[in-house]
Symmetry: C2
Subunit: 150 residues, 2 copies
DNA sequence: GTCAATTTAATTGCAGACAATTATTTTGAC
DNA sequence: GTCAAAATAATTGTCTGCAATTAAATTGAC
C-alpha cells in the first residue's frame, strides 16, 4: 500500500496564490473607489490606455478573457462613459473599443493615484521583482501543462 | 507638473498574480474532473478533511470566505454526497458540516491523484518554496493595508 | 427574568469567469 | 460565383465572491 501524502491547506501553493489574488483584489477595489471601477474593469482600462483602439478579441488576448466575460464588462464601462463600442466598417464581425474623452482625461489621474497607493504597500523593488519572477516561473509551468501544444 | 509613471499591464504584479491564479484554477479544474469537484469545492474539502467537523463560520475563517459564498457551495457539496449539514443541538445558530462516508473513502484517492498531478507540473522544491515565500511576503503587506488594525 | 446587543447562517443582488451554444460575417476552396 | 468552414461577438447557464440585509438564536447587562 503506497504512502499517501496528506494535503494541508496552508502548504498549498495554489491556495497561497488564490488568497493573495483575493487580497490584491480587495486592495485595488479600495484604491479604485474614487473612479467607480472594479479591478477587472481597471485592467481592461489599463490595456486600452496602452493599446486602444482594440477589438474585443484583441483585448481578450491581452487579458486572457473571452467574450462571455468581456461583453457585459465592456457594456458597463460604456454605460459609465469610459469607452465606446462600435462594429468595424471593414469587418462587421468585430467590435472596436475606443477611449472616450473622459477616459483620456482621467488616465494620468488614475495612474497617479494607483501608483501612490501601490507605493504605500511598501514592497521593495527587490521584493516586487522576486514576486514577479516567482509568478512568471509558475505560469510557465502551468502553461506547459494547461496547453501542451504550445 | 509631476512626472506620471505609465502603468503597463505586463509589469503589474497584481496582474501576474491574477493570471497565475486563473491558470492554477484551470489546472485544478482539469485535475479534479474525475471527482466532479470545482476548485473552491476542493479547498473546502481539503479543510474539512483536515479539521471536520466544522461550523460554516470556522470553515470560512480558514478559507477567508463568508456565508454568502459558502452556503450555496456547501449545498452543492451536500447534494453531491460529500458532506452533511445540520444545525448544532447546543447552539441552533451554527450549522455543523460533517464528512460523509464517501468523503472519507475518497480522501486518499483524491490526495494521491492531485499530488501526482502537481508532480507533473515539474516545480522543483526550491521553486515551490520561493513562490510560497513570495506570496507570504506579499500577503503580509496586503494584510497590513487591507486591515490596518491588525 | 427581560430586552438590547451580538452572533451565526441564509438570502439578495451584482459582477466576474468560463464552457457551450448561437447568430452573423468573412474567407477560401472549388 | 457558391457554399462549406472559419472567425467574431453575443447569449445562456452555472459557479464563485462579496457587500448588504434579514432571520433566528444566544448572551449579558441590568
Amino acid at each position: 500500500m503506497p504512502q499517501i501524502q496528506p494535503i494541508h491547506l496552508d502548504e498549498q501553493l495554489c491556495f497561497q496564490v488564490y488568497s493573495a489574488n483575493k487580497k490584491f483584489n480587495h486592495f485595488y477595489q479600495q484604491a479604485l473607489k474614487p473612479f467607480d471601477l472594479t479591478y477587472p474593469q481597471y485592467i481592461a482600462m489599463l490595456t486600452l490606455w496602452q493599446y486602444a483602439p482594440l477589438s474585443v478579441k484583441q483585448l481578450g488576448e491581452y487579458l486572457h478573457l473571452d467574450s462571455g466575460t468581456l461583453t457585459p464588462l465592456l457594456k458597463r464601462l460604456e454605460s459609465h462613459g469610459w469607452i465606446s463600442r462600435s462594429r468595424s466598417r471593414s469587418d462587421e464581425r468585430t467590435v472596436v473599443i475606443q477611449l472616450t474623452d473622459k477616459a483620456k482625461e482621467q488616465q494620468n489621474v488614475v495612474y497617479g493615484h494607483i501608483n501612490s497607493c501601490f507605493d504605500i504597500l511598501g514592497l521593495t523593488p527587490d521584493e516586487k521583482e522576486t514576486c514577479m519572477q516567482a509568478m512568471t516561473t509558475l505560469e510557465q509551468k502551468l502553461d506547459l501543462y494547461n496547453d501542451p501544444q504550445v
